[in-house]
Symmetry: C2
Subunit: 229 residues, 2 copies
DNA sequence: ACCTGAACACCGTTCAAGT
DNA sequence: ACCTGAACACCGTTCAAGT
C-alpha cells in the first residue's frame, strides 16, 4: 500500500483516463442516448480538455467501438448465465436465449444501437470488438449445433440456421428499441419474444414438413457469406 | 400553357422548393448515407441559403420524416406489385413479400435506416408518415389474415403473427444493412431471405405440433401492444 | 508522456432585414 | 410570402505549446 493512485484534483494527470473515458461514455450513452453522445461532453464529464481523449482514442468512432465492446461482453455474459441456470435442452434453452437477447436490447436501447447501428462503419477494423462480438454469435451457433446433435433441430449448416434465428430476435429487438412497436411493459416484451422464438423453433425442428421451393433451399451452399460480428 | 414554372436562375424564388428539397434530400441520402445528410448541404444543392429550408420544414427531423414517407410509399408499392404478379397463395406469396422487403433494404440502405432508425424520435407526430407506414404494415397483416382464412396459417391474432413475421425479415434486413452479415451478392441475399421466410412459415402453419409452454403462448391476449408504424 | 488552448471547418437553428 | 446574411451555440479534429 505504499503506492496509491493520485486522487482528488491531481493537477492534470488522470489516474487512468482511458478507462475513465469509457465509463463516462457508458453513462452518457445510457442517459442521453446515442444522438446526445458527444466527445466533448465525455471530456467535460471526465474533467479534462476536449482534446485529451485523442491521446487515448483515435477518434469518436474508436471510443464508440470500446463502448460497443463492453456491450457485447455484457450480452455474452447474460447469455452464458442462461446456459448455467437453465436446462440446456433445445426448446427451453433456445427460447431463454432469445428472450435474454431482446431483454438486453430494451433495457439498454442506446447501448444496443451503438453495438449494431451504423455509427461504427466497419466493426472488423477493431480487433477486440470483432473478437467479442463474434464470440457472442458463436454461442448461438453452438446452441443450434447442440440441438442438431440431439436430433431436435433439422440438419444443415449450423451458421445458416443460427443466422435465421439471430435475425428473428434481432428484428424484434430492433423494432422495440426503435419504437416501431409500442410495447413498454417488460412482461409483454418477454411474451412477444417467447412467441417469436417458439414460432421460429417450429421452423428449426424438422425439414420433413417443409415446402420444397425451386433452388436456394436451406440445405444449399451459401458458403461465401461471412458473419462480421 | 399560359403559365409556366419560373425556370433557370429565377432571382430567388424557387418554383417548388418544398418538393425540390425532398428530392435533393433523397439523392443526398443515397449518395452520402444518413450520416453525411446535412440540412446545410441539402440547401446548398438546392441552390438556396441554409436558412431557406426552415420556411418549408420545421427542422431537420421534419425533412427526414418526408424522406421516410417517400420510402414507405416505395416499399408499399413494391409489396403491392408482388401481390399483382404473384399467385396470392400463402407459401409463395409470403416468401415473395419477405424477399421484397429485404431487397428494398439492401438496395436502399440509407433510406431504410431513415425509415426505421433512431433519427426520427417519434414517427407518430408526423401524420402522413404514420399513415403510410401503418398502411405498409397492414399489407402484411392482411396477408396473414388471408392465410388464416385459407386454413394455411394457424389461428390466432393476425397482428401478433404478423409482428413475428415482420421481425424475421426486418432482422435480416437490418443485419445486412448494418454489415453485421457480410453478404453483397444479390442472389445470396435472396437465398437468405427465402430461407428465413420459409423457416418462419413453418412456425406460422399449424399450432398442432407446438411445444406447450407455461403461460404467454401465441394464443394469449397481448392486447395492449400497439404498432407505431 | 500526457494534457491544454487556440484554431479550423463544419453543424442546426434563429431572426432581423431585404424584395 | 419567401428568401438572405449574420449571428449563436454547438460539434469533431488538429497542433503548437506547456509541465
Amino acid at each position: 500500500m505504499f503506492k496509491r493512485a493520485t486522487k482528488g484534483r491531481s493537477s492534470y494527470h488522470h489516474g487512468d483516463l482511458h478507462r475513465a473515458l469509457i465509463e463516462v461514455a457508458l453513462r452518457l450513452i445510457a442517459e442521453e442516448g446515442a444522438s446526445g453522445f458527444t466527445l466533448r461532453e465525455v471530456a467535460r464529464r471526465a474533467g479534462v480538455s476536449h482534446a485529451a481523449p485523442y491521446r487515448h482514442f483515435a477518434d469518436k468512432m474508436a471510443l464508440l467501438a470500446a463502448v460497443a465492446e463492453e456491450g457485447f461482453r455484457a450480452l455474452r455474459q447474460r447469455m452464458l448465465e442462461v446456459g448455467i441456470r437453465m436446462p440446456v435442452e433445445p426448446p427451453a434453452h433456445f427460447r431463454a436465449l432469445g428472450v435474454e437477447y431482446v431483454r438486453f436490447a430494451v433495457e439498454h436501447p442506446a447501448h444496443f444501437r451503438v453495438m449494431f447501428g451504423p455509427d461504427i462503419i466497419d466493426p472488423t477494423i477493431y480487433p477486440t470488438l470483432h473478437e467479442v462480438s463474434h464470440g457472442t454469435f458463436t454461442l448461438l451457433i453452438e446452441a443450434i449445433a447442440a440441438g442438431q446433435q440431439a436430433q431436435a433441430i433439422r440438419p444443415g449448416e449450423s451458421w445458416a440456421l443460427a443466422l435465421a434465428a439471430w435475425a428473428q430476435v434481432h428484428g424484434l429487438a430492433t423494432l422495440l428499441v426503435d419504437h416501431c412497436v409500442a410495447v413498454t411493459d417488460p412482461a409483454q416484451v418477454v411474451a412477444l419474444a417467447e412467441q417469436a422464438t417458439d414460432m421460429l423453433y417450429e421452423g428449426l425442428r424438422s425439414e420433413g414438413t417443409r415446402h420444397k421451393v425451386k433452388g436456394t433451399g436451406v440445405g444449399e451452399p451459401l458458403a461465401e457469406a461471412k458473419i462480421a460480428y
